[in-house]
């Protein structure tokens, strides 16, 4: 089981903030997106994190990971 999280404008676009998926084969961040959002290409400039660290789309995802997708940050 992996947890997927979406934030800010991306959360609003998708209409959900968290979901959990069973994965049965090796996955990358990008393939997790495709599995969870088969009808929507990953928006340009989306940032990606696994277990709260920034990672590239090619990063491996394993069972138990938390994968996050969000737009450019605007804090401070």
């Amino acid at each position: 089981m992996i947890t997927i999280r979406y934030f800010a404008s991306l959360r609003e676009t998708l209409g959900r903030s968290t979901e959990q998926l069973e994965i049965f084969e090796p996955h990358t961040v990008l393939s997790v997106w495709r599995l969870a959002n088969p009808d929507l290409a990953l928006p340009e400039n989306t940032l990606t994190a696994v277990n709260m660290d920034y990672v590239p789309l090619s990063n491996n995802v394993k069972d138990g990971d938390e994968v996050a997708f969000f737009p450019p940050v605007t804090g401070g």
Binding site: R5, F7, A8, S9, L47, A49, M52, D53, Y54, A68, F70, P71, P72, V73, T74, G75, G76
Partner: protein, 149 residues
């Protein structure tokens, strides 16, 4: 080294004073550099009446802790404090506070600036503005830092 996420308004000078009072650094720090970011009532040419700050709880703290570790590797920092607001914010309310204590001013200034720039680049916060027209919009992009003096 303290990181604090506040979901209600905070008083930056009270925060700094309360953080500094119990420190056992008397006579050791010569320099304190502080930055406070405050909500304006305008942005990008529009009047703004309120803002909601969303964040990724957990990742925020993890990223800020990593930024502090990186700053400590670059400069001799005695102490630092980061406070960031989340939730519903009104104009004139503080959003962020970064304070650095060091023996020397160069280190304090540069570490404080670095922490702010890294925070704006890496910490997972997002601003949703409510305009005077009642429309809402996500702030798309942080301002780039201007080049150093």
């Amino acid at each position: 080294m303290t990181i604090k996420i506040c979901d209600v308004a905070f008083e930056p000078f009270t925060e700094i004073q309360n953080f500094q009072n119990p420190l056992t650094l008397e006579g050791k720090f010569g320099a304190t550099s502080i930055f406070i970011g405050t909500m304006r009532d305008f942005n990008d040419g529009d009047d703004v009446q309120a803002m909601t700050l969303e964040h990724y709880d957990g990742m925020t703290q993890k990223q800020l802790a990593q930024i502090i570790v990186a700053a400590k590797a670059k400069w001799q920092i005695l102490e630092c404090l980061i406070v960031h607001r989340v939730g519903d914010i009104l104009p004139n309310e503080p959003i962020v506070l970064v304070a650095v204590w060091s023996a020397h001013r160069g280190e304090a200034f540069e570490a404080c600036r670095y922490l702010m720039e890294e925070l704006k680049t890496n910490a997972p916060f997002w601003k949703l503005e409510k305009l005077a027209t009642n429309e809402t919009r996500w702030v798309a992009k942080n301002t780039a830092k201007v080049k150093g003096i």
